[in-house]
Symmetry: C2
Subunit: 426 residues, 2 copies
């Protein structure tokens, strides 16, 4: 058994010990964790500065920005942990109770998933944030960071050691950082020890995880979000929504990538919409019909491309059906919007667009766990099972069935003389 | 693009068309399907007889038994379809609504998963049963049967053609049987077209599916179920539960495989328990301590073995902690029982045993969708995400978010002047 496998096996064992942890113990641990982070700001910022110095001009500017830890990032971490500590328990909740018969009662009760694997690049603040969610939900975490954040990650894990020594009731290895010399792929093959994988980083990282493991993955590789501007839209209301969706944070997964425009809108209106984008610094790529209106636009090369930048694909479509076909073919099931004043049209769009978030007259950028009111976000998922769209801490729990009987046997409920079940659900 | 891929791609497209289907259309289709099955009993039984004749002495007796279609199996199919037709809709249900702000309302709404792949051996009645569940939940089904049921499967699919011609609003390919000459593995590689895989058959089949696909799998390879007989148990109540768990249907996945006995019980009581099993035809395999009580028992060779037959492993343990360690190490997370009159002890067992069903004083055989009151069972899952334990039709749905706004942009809810969110959930 390799060192890595021994480590993962011990995490699985710790996940059983976590099943005994109480809400009060978790609250004390979270508040201790908050205090430790709050009182070690300088050592965290110093370690982070070492990483920043070493990585300068070595990594992309996007990665470099995410690598940076700031006082305000630590502020919001600390506030988020306080909020989690004050929340009621998420495990041990009885979803429903069914009396199968007298003195034979079934309960469905929420429980932790077990061992959560988190793979992340840059952003060292993933460690304190995801560990708080993992602790609150009584799970165990296996973290695999990138070497670009080596000093920052080590500084956070040193604080985890301090937490563990102050809260000795936390099981060994409830939070483990896998050293960076182990390859990601070697972690991904241990589906017997890891129950759920959460990749946090570039599309390439997420795709790599999704394509190389049998462990269920909570995440999204692409965010090809669309807005469909119908001929029934209120243009005054629509333009700010389109501009916000594209420019408010262009590299986010929920930023707009393709604008679909109904052909019945006048050239004048279409140009007004496009120029409000151009004025905001957006470069337009167009379909053939768009380029007939303004030949200076470059043609779209790939409708599935995620620009992640101030660039936008524009297509003129015949009607909503045409727009929906485009979205279902080229979209990534993330977030898609219709701009219309017609409720029946919006309802039809909501029904037939097979994406995790569908919206009417609002910015794609609202698709986010915090904005949806879920508190801290575990991730955004484009999967079709378990959890979909922005996922809060609920994505880290599952349920078990508990049956309390009084000596009942199945034989008595079978065959021609079978006792009937009550099946009273309450 | 291979013929198979073309077929699967067309199924994915049909899954979008299924999003438009109404509850009334589904009800009419289910009642039509029921009538077609009811009035074609003889042709189904004739086709099945051909398979039975061809397979006689060629396949195992277990497979042969499952291959057989009977009038009473058709009766319960027909009744099950009537029940489903009368049920309220499972998609389009609003789980919760949150006002993010005035005129900015979020809803979480249930939707079908999309394309459900079903791989099954023998049992041709899987086709009408699973297709009814798939139709009721507005999904699309891709079925892959075994060649041993060739004639029966073809007869069922001929009736699906009849259903489609009577209900032309059903999209093309909503129910497709993949021809048996295509290998299972070629289906398993198309995760871009299939959203959930349900294997129905032997442990080998299920393991093969789980180990060879990135598609989420709803199922269980093993059913290593335990009963722990504590020293605080009521023996009169416990013996029938142990015997029922072992002999009521020994080849079922929820049958008992290992009995763990507290060491404080007297030899006399232990022998009484074991002889009630032996009298029922069960062969006992024992741990060293059990074999000291009766040296005629064979030793246990593998604590993770699923006998699926009238055979049982028996171990004497020091206490409940010892029993729990054994269950978490050798069990399969399916169903585990404690026999005790002590409520605190049962509560602790429920908390620390990490299985999808945990029980007190009742037979393992109750772990079943029908007995749990879920109606028709989609399968039993030992996964830790999406659906766990016996899974009803709820396992075939997921949700999407719908956001209805009035032109809101994220810019207004960001930064130092940010408007606050309301986040009123109701």
């Amino acid at each position: 058994m390799s060192e890595l496998e021994k480590q993962l096996k011990s995490c699985k064992q710790s996940s059983r010990a976590m099943l005994r942890i109480t809400l009060d113990e978790k609250k004390r641990a979270l508040l201790t964790w908050k205090e430790i982070l709050d009182s070690n700001r300088q050592s965290l910022l110093n370690a982070n500065q070492k990483d920043l110095n070493e990585q300068k001009n070595k990594i992309s500017s996007a990665l470099y920005q995410r690598l940076e830890l700031t006082e305000s990032k630590i502020d919001s971490l600390v506030q988020g942990i306080q909020d989690l500590a004050d929340m009621p328990d998420i495990v041990g909740h009885v979803n429903f109770t069914t009396d199968l018969d007298e003195k034979l009662q079934l309960k469905q009760v929420t429980v932790p998933i077990g061992v959560i694997g988190v793979i992340f690049e840059s952003r060292p603040d993933v460690i304190p944030q995801i560990l708080s969610l993992i602790l609150k939900s009584s799970n165990v975490g296996i973290l695999k960071g990138g070497k670009e954040a080596y000093h920052s990650n080590a500084a956070f894990m040193k604080l985890v050691d301090e937490l563990n020594s102050k809260c000795p009731y936390l099981p060994d290895n409830w939070a483990t950082l896998v050293e960076s010399r182990d390859e990601i792929n070697s972690v991904l093959k241990y589906d017997q020890y890891i129950d759920l994988m959460i990749p946090r980083g570039s599309n390439e990282l997420v795709s790599h995880v999704m394509n190389n493991t049998k462990i269920p993955v909570l995440g999204h590789a692409d965010g090809i979000c669309h807005i469909y501007l119908d001929s029934t839209a209120d243009i005054e209301k629509s333009i700010p929504v389109i501009v916000d969706s594209k420019i408010q944070y262009p590299s986010a997964c929920n930023a707009l990538e393709t604008l679909l425009i109904h052909q019945d809108l006048s050239e004048k209106v279409i140009l007004r919409v496009l120029h409000s984008l151009i004025d905001a610094g957006v470069k337009i790529f167009g379909c053939d019909r768009t380029r007939k209106i303004d030949a200076s636009f470059d043609p779209v090369e790939n409708w599935s491309r995620e620009y992640g930048d101030l660039q936008l694909s524009v297509k003129i479509v015949e009607n909503m059906g045409d727009a929906v076909l485009h979205i279902n073919e080229f979209g990534s099931g993330h977030t898609d919007v219709i701009l219309t004043e017609s409720t029946p049209l919006a309802e039809e769009f909501f029904q037939v667009v097979d994406s995790s978030s569908v919206m009417q007259n609002s910015s794609t950028r609202f698709a986010d766990g915090f904005r949806y009111g879920f508190g801290a976000e575990v991730g955004i998922s484009t999967a079709k099972t378990h959890a979909r769209g922005p996922v809060g801490i609920e994505g880290l729990v599952i349920y078990k069935y508990q049956l309390i009987g009084n000596g009942q046997t199945v034989k008595d409920y079978t065959g021609p003389e079978a006792k009937p079940f009550l099946h009273n659900r309450h």
